[in-house]
């Protein structure tokens, strides 16, 4: 279990409290990436030797659709500039294809590299048998936990200041089970699947995350008053898990109330744990509170693999090619990736440059109230590197 692997690191709680990949503070030289590739795990899966040669990592890059390719271009420019020891293996997925060859290949490359950086992949085909590529990717790689760090950027004007919430979302089941059928003409049933094992490991992941990052409270978000069995199981599991972590406060909240509270009083939340669909909704709500889709980055974790992507899974097709897309989300995702791989030196360089650009120099794209173009933002970040 990833949580167990990661928990082997001793981490100073005050250090990097926003980060899951907090092994920077650990004296051990093992990065999260190393741990994922070292420790034997519960699911019987053949461990593949890691793609780490002469200090350089190979990483799968899935540019996806919309603004993905241009953002990836920026990331590559920046990585080249800072000399990040990462070699990207780019896999393009044709969104119009009706077969899954490209997706399967992408999954294979992530399996052998262990790490991926992805934009949002479009699924243009309406054919029922073509599943969503993003969902297929997460399910196939068994990346059951999704983390979104939502921390306010002081330089971005928003209604609420100093929000600091971590959203942890079950990423592989629930409403996204993709089991739908028409039992009688005109009646469609969609199955929501909640399993004890998946609920348990995501709950443990959340509490372990809270413990290691010095968080005080975990809030389970659910709708167990209506879906008494499925969401009931999820809630019950997290309550049970909470007993193992007496230092961390645990409460629960119904999803509708949660959304209202989030937009009204977001500061009451610390770590939030939820099922798949609620996670999707809540992360978009919080992203909206902090300044839209273009800033935050999300992380998908499984036992063996980690995939980093912009926080809200929107392709941004409408603004593609106009040089106004916000490149920060993808750059933040690449910082997460560098930290996961253990390249803290380069991650910190980049992190500081991004912070200075957004919060001190206030060079922002139109979506967060600025006037700069994407390339201007990227150039400003590059200019701030190493200062």
């Amino acid at each position: 279990m990833a949580v167990r692997l990661f928990s082997k690191l001793k981490v100073l709680p005050e250090f990097r409290n926003v980060s899951f990949a907090s092994s920077a503070a650990a004296p051990a030289t093992l990065s999260d990436f190393d741990l994922q590739h070292k420790t034997p795990v519960i699911r019987k899966q053949k461990l593949i030797p890691k793609a780490h040669y002469g200090g350089r990592h190979a990483v799968t890059m899935l540019p996806g659709g919309g603004i993905g390719p241009e953002c990836m271009g920026y990331v590559r420019d920046i990585f080249k500039y800072i000399g990040a020891p990462v070699d990207f293996e780019v896999v393009d997925i044709d969104p119009t294809m009706d077969n899954d060859d490209d997706v399967q290949y992408a999954i294979t490359t992530i399996k052998r590299n262990g790490v991926g950086l992805k934009g949002n992949i479009e699924t243009k085909s309406e054919a029922a048998y073509v599943t969503s590529r993003n969902v297929a990717l997460r399910n196939e790689l068994d990346m059951y936990a999704y983390i979104l760090n939502c921390k306010s950027f002081p330089g971005v004007p928003t209604r609420h200041k100093d929000i600091d919430v971590v959203i942890i979302r079950q990423n592989t089941e629930g409403e996204y089970a993709m089991l739908e059928h028409e039992s009688v003409n005109g009646v469609i049933e969609s199955m929501k699947v909640v399993t004890a094992s998946n609920s348990e490991r995501v709950a443990r992941f959340a509490f372990e995350f809270a413990k290691r990052n010095g968080r005080k409270k975990v809030t389970t978000v659910h709708k167990a008053n209506i879906m008494k069995l499925s969401d009931g199981l999820f809630l019950e599991t997290s309550r049970r898990m909470a007993k193992e972590y007496p230092d961390i406060e645990h409460n629960d909240m119904i999803i509708d109330n949660c959304c209202m509270q989030l937009v009204a009083k977001p500061h009451q939340f610390d770590v939030m744990l939820m099922t798949n669909l609620y996670g999707s909704i809540v992360s978009n709500v919080v992203c909206g509170l902090l300044g839209g889709a273009g800033l935050l980055s999300g992380r998908n974790y499984g036992d063996h693999y980690a995939v980093f992507e912009p926080g809200t899974r929107n392709t941004g097709t409408a603004i593609a090619g106009k040089n106004i897309a916000n490149p920060v989300a993808m750059i933040n995702a690449s910082i997460d990736m560098l930290e996961h791989l253990g390249h803290f030196f380069h991650a910190d360089l980049l992190k500081r440059a991004v912070y200075k650009t957004i919060n001190e120099d206030r060079i922002l794209t139109p979506d967060v109230g600025g006037t700069a173009t994407s390339t201007e933002v990227v150039n400003a970040i590059i200019g701030n590197i190493g200062l």
């Binding site: 030797p49 002469g54 070699d87 052998r112």
Partner: protein, 386 residues
């Protein structure tokens, strides 16, 4: 008379070279202010010093190694490359003067990169020690993958043209286990060790390298028809890994056939992955195809470090001090090293300079059919830096 005449000509030539070198060096610097000033950032490395210079471990080695390394240092100096060398005298044939293994290992582990001349390995052992210094170094750093990129160079006359293959060799196990014993007088057993973990690791390395370099095919070289268990395991591991790379063609070839194919039709090979001893043989054979030990660069990789050394490891002791050895291989190594630490512009600069000198064909060392010295060649490269 003729002797005096020759000396005068040589003196004049050297003089002119020095002058032009001086002129050109400053020209390079001037250029750098224009094209490399923003790329000064390329020295943002964890192992960089405060001034943004990169540290690199340097092992001159035995035989002509020190001369080759000197050539590299001259070129680096002339091109103003921000690399500082941490030099160690490291030698098996001169154990009293040699730096301790731990010091060298620590230095490489700290700097992550190393450039290394060839270490002489005597074929007897005074102490009964079976591991050579090379093997100790590899094992200590876990430098498991040796990569030799065999590529025809311009204007180097060989039997075959356009050879371009990458040979990847496992170099921490197999026949090089240093496990030999005489069980009964007159009967010596040498253990060849093959493990699944290391075979999979090298196979994955080979495929990942092929992906990174945009190659199409990986050939596993083996002798599983005779060593059904040992090489069989190696082969199975490669087959297993090949399944993860559906877009790269995988084929296997028995080592004896492979050597024959290599000398008759080397263009069919792309990336080759081999166990230890076969790799050693194929490396040397392939190097011979494109001009010999003096022109082929190689590198050894561990997960953390990279050691750049010549592809075919010969100390060329007959040429020591004679100023005739070919520094091309070592210079190519240094260019690869620069690319590895993201100093791509410098790397290209050196590679282009070497290509230019070779293409011009005026300055050739003895192994390429010329009469020029090591230093002549080095200065010719320096003059071609642009």
């Amino acid at each position: 008379m003729s002797l005096i005449g020759r000396n005068i000509v040589r003196a004049l030539m050297q003089g002119s070279q020095h002058v032009s070198k001086g002129v050109h060096t400053s020209a390079v610097n001037a250029d750098q202010n224009v094209c490399f000033a923003p790329a000064g950032i390329s020295t943002l490395q964890p192992n960089a010093t405060k001034e943004g210079r990169i540290k690199c471990t340097l092992i001159p080695g035995d035989g002509v190694g020190p001369e080759m390394v000197y050539s590299v240092q001259e070129v680096f100096k002339a091109a103003n490359i921000p690399v500082d060398f941490e030099s160690f005298f490291f030698s098996e044939v001169n154990p009293t003067l040699s730096a301790p293994l731990e010091d060298v290992v620590n230095s490489i582990a700290r700097n992550k990169i190393c450039i290394k001349g060839i270490l002489a390995t005597p074929d007897f052992s005074h102490t009964g020690e079976l591991q050579t210094l090379n093997m100790k170094l590899r094992n200590a750093l876990d430098l498991y993958a040796n990569v030799v990129h065999v590529k025809s160079l311009p204007n180097v006359k060989c039997r075959h043209n356009d050879v371009d293959c990458i040979i990847i060799r496992e170099q921490t196990e197999g026949e090089y286990s240093a496990l030999e014993h005489e069980s009964v007088p007159g009967v010596v057993e040498c253990l060849k060790i093959i493990t699944a973990a290391k075979s999979e690791r090298i196979a994955k390395f080979a495929f990942d390298y092929a992906v990174k370099m945009g190659r199409k095919k990986v050939t596993a070289v083996h002798k599983a028809n005779i060593m059904k268990l040992g090489d069989g395991l190696f082969l199975r591991s490669c087959e297993e890994m090949a399944k993860l790379y559906p877009r790269i063609q995988f084929e296997k070839m028995i080592v004896d056939n492979c050597t024959m194919q290599m000398v008759s039709n080397p263009n069919q090979f792309d990336v080759m992955v081999t166990p230890n001893l076969y790799g050693n043989i194929v490396d040397n054979l392939a190097s011979g195809l494109v001009g010999g030990a003096g022109v082929v660069a190689g590198a050894s990789y561990s997960p953390e470090c990279a050691v750049f050394e010549q592809g075919a490891r010969h100390i060329f002791s007959g040429a020591v001090g004679k100023n005739i050895a070919n520094p091309t291989a070592m210079l190519l190594c240094s260019a690869n090293l620069l690319a590895h630490v993201n100093l791509h512009s410098y790397s290209k600069m050196i590679k282009n300079a070497i290509n230019k000198v070779l293409t011009d064909g005026k300055v050739r060392t003895k192994d390429l059919g010329g009469q020029s010295t090591t230093k002549d060649f080095t200065y010719a490269v320096i003059q071609s830096l642009a």
